[in-house]
Amino acid sequence: MARSKKVPGLNASSMADIAFLMLIFFLMTSTMNVDTGIMRILPPPLPEDIEVPDINKRNIMNVLISSQDRLLVNRKMGDIETLKKDVIEFMSIHPDDGNFPEVALRDVPLLGKVPTSKGIISLKNARGTSYEMYIRVQDELASAFKVLRNRLSMEHFGKKYVDLVDEEQINAIEKAIPVRVSEAEPVNIGGN
């Protein structure tokens, strides 16, 4: 029984190598890309027997993308370059102007009573519309609403909407200016 009682120290010099090996494996397999995209909420399906509510004509801005990727805004030829400006114009508050959507006072927490536009953007597309064009239009609409929200946020909080951090403030702005883009029932126009 001449063994020493001491436990020999573990040789840990290869630990770094093992860790390196695993590190390199995960480095190679990891995908760091964050998924980005445009969020939209689809409307619930319409029950068969319910009539489509009659929305005042002046509240609707019709945007139609033809199968040749051309734009029709309110039955007139439109242009993707000016679409953003048109949408901002349309959705801004114009009290007592018959050419623009109705204005309703809405109670929003933090903001109090704010006039909100009753306008709706109705986006329609043909079956032959290219997805790229559709996304470009969606993107223009999104940036138009962003401009409007920035404007309102500047007035009330002195900060741009995109720079807001407070959850309540963000919610308030979103409530005051909801993204009202109706992706309407598909219509068969312009062939495929």
Binding site: A12, M15, A16, A19, F20, M22, L23, F26, L27, T29, S30, T31, M32, V34, D35, T36, G37, I38, M39, R40, I41, L42, P43, P44, P45, I65, N125, A126, R127, G128, T129, S130, Y131, E132, Y134, I135, R136, Q138, D139, A142, S143, K146, E183, P186, N192
Partner: protein
Amino acid sequence: MSRFKKELSKETPEISTSSMPDIIFMLLFFFMVTTVMRETEMIVNLTPPAAENVQKLEKKSLVSYIYIGQPKDKKLGTESRIQLDDAFAVVGNIREFIAKEREARDEADRPFLVTSLKVDSDTKMGVVSDVKQELRKIGAFKINYSTRKKVVHK
């Protein structure tokens, strides 16, 4: 005035490497946590369009993906096809697919499920509309048009 010590050794001391494994382990854990392994193999070509106003998809575990694009295999033609998981599908399969995705999630999480449409930019809207109509019928209302972030030159 203090005097400088004169008996400094000329040899540079060895750098201790004993903390190296710790550093490496730290890096390792970072990558282990952030890594997402590709689980679906793409059988359609996908080049999503670019857009400026994009939002980040927050919770990846709550996202189900629908891919639409031209088949990679040229023999299958150039018509855009839908890919669910690892196989081609038709619009009718989406109902089953979404039901399966819902089943796999915790009951509390189900209302927050997002369907991400990863669509190639050359696709025609016809098939996308069909998919959207089907999603509406099933009640999967939250969708996300997957786009790349466009770099804006000013």
